[in-house]
């Protein structure tokens, strides 16, 4: 077995350019609408406020007109009381309108941020429920890009455009009705221009939306590369490959800005094009209007009123066209978000799954078959029986698939054949959280998060007291180090904790495991970064940790596993030898040669 958690063949996974069929825009809009609808009361309030502030603003010209009428008398005949009254009213109405529109903006910001919050929360929660393999396939930077950039794009457009669309639609409908009433004769103009705008819009959306999708994807790739390469900064310096990395960044940067530009390039035509159609209809109206006037079919007043309304009519259409390109980019971004939301989460627990209650902690594997890719099986027929409280050691060459076993025990991946059971409960028939909760695990790759040392140690046991944490830290021989820090247990660990070594991090993860109240324990090279002296010092604590627990230990220092009840020697996905230290040495096979090699 070639031990490949994550499944080989990463080809085609790197690119973020959508290969899957596009989602229908109507579907995306529907799903976006659902988010908006969650805040329907805010939406309603926003609608009312829009109406109110628009009405007040509309009254302004009316009032100013009245004020001007009052001074129309000319020299010495100005009706000052009326002028004052209307001017006072104007000031009042404008103030009211400004106030309402401020409230409206504040409300819209709140609304859009509520949607942002909800989307981001849903996305993250979904990500957290995705199987481990998703994170093996997607670059962190790309995930980040979805959660920040894409969601931001969606909501900038959502909050800003939603109201705009509403008001525009109302105005357009209103003006249309007015125009029909005034001069039905001129309406044929729109029979020409409206289909043109519809066709143009459809053509553009076909052309522009894929460009916006690419833009989002390319930005995701750039972010992925950025995250990956900045994380490897020390290595890059050590090999003096700054130039190489810069060059590669430059390619991706070029891709990203070009994709942005391409989308803008086509989107840039949206506003002017719609404007053009409006101007076109204006020209047609004036020519037709003039002709009808000449033929006596229309009065000049009708023509000018018609034109006034057609201006009113085209204004919002213009605005809509501008919104339209924003909407395209929002749809592309939303599609990426929804696509992630549509990724299948870890298979749901069996409907009749029960909470696992471990009594003895006996773990049995029967005829287990597994491969990360179904067609590439790497564990062929593995059976083992670990009695409750026993210590099973797994040894074998590097990459023989030891880590895969852990992936299966913890059910990070599901089996292709055979069963794993704990106290005769098939692990597929119990809830995942109870299964995983039954294990404590210390891995070779230490993982601490940015938070205090206390939080990191207490991570697996919510509500742990300071005494418990200190006790665990003492047992893991890290207490003295921690107390020597200026802030002690409240020291914040930063992601690359410069003054905390790998070994110290590992000791903290051991302390973390010690706090867990689990029946089973997995130690995967748990002390590989810890020096031997410390290792001996924590041995008694480790032994206590392992007491009464069913333990699975992966170790290269064979000295640490000599007392195992059962040693499994794995090679190429099969167990080639099995037995105690003594039995295996007596066999003089793979294990013996592995064992002696450490003294050569």
């Amino acid at each position: 077995m070639k031990g490949m958690p994550g499944g080989g063949g990463g080809r085609g996974m790197r690119g973020g350019v959508p290969q899957k069929p596009k989602m229908k825009p109507s579907l995306i809009i529907l799903r976006l609408g659902k988010y908006l609808f969650r805040f329907k009361w805010m939406l309603l309030a926003a609608g009312l406020l829009t109406l109110g502030s628009n009405l007040l603003a509309l009254l302004g010209p009316e009032l100013s007109g009245a004020a001007i009428d009052a001074l129309a008398g000319g020299e010495g005949k100005v009706d000052f009381p009326t002028v004052f009254r209307y001017c006072g009213l104007m000031a009042l109405f404008y103030a009211g309108s400004a106030f309402l529109s401020y409230i409206l903006s504040a409300l819209m910001i709140r609304l859009s941020q509520s949607v942002t919050y909800a989307m981001r929360r849903d996305l993250f929660n979904h990500l957290a429920d995705l199987p481990v393999s998703y994170f093996d396939r997607h670059q962190t930077g790309d995930i980040l890009s979805r959660i920040s950039y894409d969601i931001d794009t969606v909501n900038t457009s959502l909050s800003h455009d939603f109201l705009q669309i509403c008001t525009s639609v109302i105005t357009i409908a209103g003006s249309f009705i007015m125009m029909v009433r005034i001069a039905p004769l001129l309406m044929p103009v729109f029979i020409v221009t409206i289909p043109i705008s519809i066709l143009l819009t459809r053509y553009r959306s076909k052309k522009v939306r894929p460009l916006f999708s690419i833009r989002s994807a390319k930005l995701g790739e750039l972010n992925g590369y950025t995250e990956e390469s900045i994380s490897g900064q020390k290595t890059i310096k050590a090999y003096h490959q700054e130039e190489t990395m810069r060059r590669r960044f430059s390619e991706r940067n070029e891709d990203a800005v070009s994709a942005y530009y391409k989308a803008e390039y086509y989107a840039a035509a949206n506003g002017p094009s719609v404007n053009f159609i409006n101007n076109l209809s204006l020209s047609l109206i004036s020519v037709l209007g003039a002709i009808f006037f000449l033929k006596g079919r229309l009065s000049i007043g009708d023509v000018s009123a018609f034109i006034l309304y057609s201006r009113k009519f085209s204004g919002p259409i213009n605005e809509l066209a501008n919104i339209y390109s924003e909407l395209q980019s929002a749809l592309a971004a939303a599609e990426r978000v929804f696509r992630t939301l549509d990724e299948a989460p870890e298979l749901a627990d069996d409907p009749d799954a029960v909470e696992l209650k471990v009594t003895d902690g006996e773990v049995q594997m029967e005829h287990v078959r597994f491969g990360y890719l179904p067609e590439k099986e790497i564990i062929h027929d593995l059976s083992l029986d670990a009695k409750g409280g026993s210590l099973t050691a797994i040894v074998g060459h590097t990459g023989a698939g030891k880590t895969t076993l852990i992936n299966l025990l913890m059910r990070f991946y599901d089996l292709q054949g055979g069963t794993i059971s704990i106290d005769d409960h098939n692990i597929r028939k119990v809830t995942r959280s109870s299964l995983r909760g039954a294990y404590a695990m210390v891995l070779q790759d230490t993982w601490l998060f940015s938070g205090t040392i206390f939080d990191n140690i207490a991570y697996g046991k919510p509500g742990a007291t300071m005494e418990e944490v200190v006790e665990a830290a003492k047992a893991a021989r890290i207490h003295e180090y921690i107390t020597a820090l200026p802030d002690g247990y409240n020291t914040i660990i930063t992601e690359d904790g410069i003054n905390i070594s790998q070994g110290q991090k590992q000791l903290m993860t051991i302390a973390r495991a010690m706090l867990l109240d689990a029946h089973m324990l997995i130690l995967d090279e748990a002390t590989s970064n810890v020096d031997t002296r410390t290792e001996i010092q924590i041995q008694s604590a480790m032994r206590r940790l392992m007491q009464d627990k069913t333990c699975f230990v992966i170790a290269h220092r064979l000295s640490t596993i000599q007392h195992a009840d059962n040693i499994l020697v794995v090679d190429a996905g099969d167990i080639v030898e099995q037995g105690t230290h003594k039995e295996l040495l007596a066999k003089n096979g793979t294990y013996a040669s592995l064992y002696y090699s450490q003294f050569q």
Binding site: C87, F135, T140, K402
Partner: protein, 575 residues
């Protein structure tokens, strides 16, 4: 912000041209209504159908010019935004790769990531937006003001009188806005951090069933970001209604003043009526300008964050040549160092290595083993003492020379989502043969050969489709592939079984006799054959010598050795 505007300089002409084109396009747009008025008022009454059609054609031509020019100008703007952003982003990335490790530590990786991504994105957006609306609006504003000045300068002055107030509002709100947006971006950094930690630690999180906890943790940062954005947005939202109000009040005042002027016979009612129509145009322009300022606030918060990185002084500068003649390849003399400049992480370390010798470093967790290597490679500068390679102070060796001397594997070193070959060659010009050799020496050949695509096999993110041992062997291949002068292995065989480890050491002994090695390990067996062994404890050397010497002289070393190998004799093993 100034810094970013500097990037726009080369495009000033392009922008000016864009303005001109846009200006023409806009003027065409404005012509249409007057032609229309002409047709209705003057041409139609004459009954000349041909003239009507002629003017109709003129209108269509104007419309075509308007559409083409506006599109061209918008594309110009997009191009300028693209070029500027590309340059800013590239310079930022270049600068980040040039930062010293200490500088990176001080800003933090998540923050650097969000500066390159979300901050440069804000800049892109801002530059595009300024050009698109920033041109039309001032033209309209200035034009209208000039016309009103001609209509009646007294009334115009009243209107102009509101401008200082508007400027004050913009100034005040922008000043308030920038720190708010800066705070927002800082919270975005935190969001980046949590997501990053989750992506990396997903196995541990799932193993400990902490999914819910992480969801809550994310919820916290999410809430903070949203809150900061709401605060910033709510403050900025004052701009628009305020400007609207000020201008409208100015208009009201104009009518009042107008009333007196009309009464005094100095002005006409018609003039005041005309004022109101220009006033609408001014209002629209002012709104657009205030939108620009909102964008500018957000943009300049991002610009400042970018400029902060770009302006960081060059750390770890090259010193004047400082050479002594010596046959030591690597020399440490009384070197002390502290990361945080509080407690020394290394104290008074001295050792010397001749070319081809091997130094083993062993010691308890956190004793400063890795720090020795960091200083030798000058990822950080030592506080006291001297470090020399070939007699040159490391601080005087140019980076391209210094950093091409090493083949190194750090603890938890990085693999990239790329092919095996790319991960080994890592940007260096290596032949296939060199890579194959390196893989063989690093004991990686077997597993590489077993992949269908061999060296072209693609790794997944962080090399997660390999086991720990395979990853280490690939990293060692990378270190060996360049036939380095100095080889550094920092606890890089911990995931290798003993046999593989021994074979690796054998291969290095045979093929790298001219390479000076520093090997950090937990296992005595990995370093016991080294020419020199340095035993560290709390940053101090508590033993230095060969294995046999240390077995005699160093209590700690003896203890480590006994714990791992019994008394170093085989028979103990079977007992």
């Amino acid at each position: 912000m100034k810094k970013i505007f500097q990037y726009l300089k080369p495009y000033l002409w392009a922008m000016a041209l864009g303005v001109l084109i846009k200006f023409t396009g806009t003027v065409m747009d404005l012509f249409l209504p007057s032609i229309l008025a002409h047709v209705i008022d003057d041409v139609a009454p004459t009954g000349n159908v041909r003239m009507v059609i002629f003017w109709g054609v003129v209108m269509v031509i104007c419309a075509i010019i308007a559409v083409s020019f506006n599109i061209i100008a918008n594309r110009f703007a997009a191009r300028v935004a693209r070029d500027t952003t590309r340059a800013v982003r590239q310079d930022l990335y270049d600068k980040i790769t040039a930062l010293s490790c200490g500088q990176v530590d001080s800003i933090g990786i998540p923050s650097l990531i969000s500066r390159i991504t979300s901050d440069t994105y804000n800049i892109h957006h801002m530059i595009g937006m300024i050009q698109r609306i920033g041109i039309r609006a001032p033209i309209l504003l200035l034009g209208s003001i000039i016309i009103t000045l001609f209509m009646d300068w007294r009334l115009a002055l009243v209107l102009i009188g509101t401008i200082p107030f508007m400027a004050a509002v913009v100034f005040y709100i922008t000043r308030k806005g920038i720190p708010l947006y800066t705070a927002l971006q800082q919270n975005v950094d935190k969001l980046v951090r949590v997501v990053r930690e989750n992506a990396v630690g997903i196995r541990v999180i799932k193993a400990l069933s902490k999914t819910e906890y992480e969801k809550n943790r994310f919820d916290g940062v999410n809430r903070d970001v949203v809150e900061k954005e709401t605060t910033a947005g709510t403050v900025m939202a004052v701009t628009n209604p305020m400007m609207n109000l000020l201008l409208n009040l100015g208009m009201t005042l104009t009518i009042l003043v107008g009333a007196y002027l009309v009464n005094a016979g100095v002005s006409e009612p018609g003039t005041i009526l005309g004022f109101t129509s220009y006033f609408t145009i001014i209002l629209g322009a002012v709104m657009a300008i205030s939108r620009i300022f909102v964008n500018l606030s957000k943009g300049s918060a991002s610009a400042n964050r970018i400029a902060f990185v770009l302006d960081m002084p060059e750390d770890l500068q090259l010193m004047a040549p400082d050479h002594i003649d010596t046959d030591d390849h690597i020399l440490f003399e009384n070197v002390s160092f502290s990361y945080l400049k509080q407690k020394d992480n290394l104290k008074n370390i001295s050792f010397s290595l001749k070319k081809g010798e091997t130094l083993g470093i062993i010691g308890s967790t956190g004793c400063g083993k890795t720090t020795v290597v960091h200083l030798l490679m000058r990822l950080y500068d030592r506080d006291k003492g001297t470090i020399r390679i070939n007699g040159d102070d490391v601080r005087s060796i140019p980076y391209e020379k210094l950093h091409t001397m090493f083949g190194v594997v750090f603890q938890n070193d990085v693999l990239f989502a790329d092919t095996i070959a790319e991960n080994i060659s890592f940007g260096r010009d290596l032949t296939m043969e060199e890579m194959e050799n390196a893989a063989r020496w690093a004991q990686a050949e077997e597993f590489i050969e077993s992949q269908d695509a061999r060296f072209e096999h693609e790794l997944t993110i962080r090399g997660s489709n390999l086991s720990g041992g395979q990853r280490q062997r690939l990293l060692i291949s990378r270190a060996l592939a360049g036939k380095p002068d100095i080889l550094i292995l920092d606890d890089s065989s911990s995931a290798l079984d003993y046999r593989t480890d021994a074979a690796l050491r054998g291969a290095i002994r045979e093929n790298f006799e001219n390479t000076t090695s520093i090997i950090i390990a937990q296992r005595i067996s990995s370093i016991m054959h080294a020419d020199h062994i340095l035993v560290l404890e709390n940053g101090e050397a508590i033993g230095y010598g060969t294995h046999d010497e240390l077995m005699e002289s160093c209590e700690s070393y003896r203890e480590i050795s006994r714990s791992q190998m019994g008394d170093g004799k085989k028979e103990e093993v079977t007992a």
